[in-house]
Symmetry: C2
Subunit: 230 residues, 2 copies
Amino acid sequence: MQKNQKGKIIQALSVDSVIFGFEEAKLKVLLIKRAIKPEYGTWALPGGFIKYSEDISEAAYRVLKEHTGVQDLYMEQLGAFGDIDRFPDERVITIVYYALIKPGKYEINPGPDATDAAWFSLKELPRVPFDHKKIIDAALARLRRQFKYKPIGFNLLADKFPLLDLQELYEALYGVEFDKPNFRRKIMKMNLLVPLEEKQQGVPHRSARLFKFDKERYDNLTEKGFIFEF
Amino acid sequence: MQKNQKGKIIQALSVDSVIFGFEEAKLKVLLIKRAIKPEYGTWALPGGFIKYSEDISEAAYRVLKEHTGVQDLYMEQLGAFGDIDRFPDERVITIVYYALIKPGKYEINPGPDATDAAWFSLKELPRVPFDHKKIIDAALARLRRQFKYKPIGFNLLADKFPLLDLQELYEALYGVEFDKPNFRRKIMKMNLLVPLEEKQQGVPHRSARLFKFDKERYDNLTEKGFIFEF
DNA sequence: TCAAAAGTGTTTGCAATACACCCATGC
DNA sequence: GCATGGGTGTATTGCAAACACTTTTGA
């Protein structure tokens, strides 16, 4: 046990990130192949230690940038995980963030502590070390709830997207199917999407109109008491 | 900056609790009067430092027991707060829990670090130090969301309660009024309350039937896919 | 001309809302 | 009897679910 200058008990503190992506109509998580001990060589959540001179969220951003050349992302804290034996040999408490990234807006590259980085479908996760499985499950549960009352799904889609993409995202997340006409109406009634002139290209069927999320309008409505609810 | 045996950067870690109670039809928070520096003598959230040998939630329970002789409570983690300058002179990251206590099931007494402890209505909070205001606001926001999809309101009421108590709790939390008959039907339709033979006593009007929350039934329904929604 | 998805229209039933009204109890 | 809250009944409305149907495009 160690104490700091003021005699307070101290312990190591890390950040880990659960990075979600939506690829091939499947919800995926970004894992890195550890190039450090312990658990050298296993697929795990990207993470790092918090510096004395940065806010926790800054640390999370820094770690995330090390693994993805992120340009655009949504990030929130999930919580702290600190069971005594979650990490071998020493006490490490970790503060976990979850992030959503848009396709094409990043570039995956393993960071300094990793030899590889890749997307894994949530249904085909490899073995992950420590309590990372528990953390991923918690992040997923949180995401499901968040989707119900915040329009954050757009952070997993391209800036311009057809409605069906959004529907498939909700379907992947909740594991159910929705009726297309009804889904469409439900979303459109909220008035958060701007229809664009642009259309899908190169699809083997009638091309769909593209939409973009109108954040400004959402913030505006929210101020007036509007509550998003899916 | 300090490092541990393995060379990792370490910093002080505390737990703080936002303890909610429902008294006089008002939502309240338990604050303690600090008997330690810094901010000696101000009203603040009860908290303490995490021991090397306990899980975070254990630490939160311990701290909570120091201030209330708790018998029955609901507790969940809110998250970590760690802005660099949130605490004077040294870096202290705090992990916050929020708790709900039933009336009569506890005994408030200031813990070792406090000279006093008292309930404060959320609308009449005193000045609180550090980032405690921000924390309380975050806890309240979380509570509002939780109430929508988890039947946790019962943790703020006596074991046996009349329906109006529950309604007043929701009204206090959301700052709106509900139609009594409709509220009643909405709740009863969920099938989570067991009507008791017992009735209110000593009220200056027709006495109301008492109910209790049937946790077993709720768990049962939840397993079958039932999702509570208010 | 067929497959596949885009997109519109319409019917139905449930559930939230609003509100009228009777019941029981203490003062 | 009257104030206060307990508790029931019911009409109305809006919306979500179900599904039939037309349109557009590439192969």
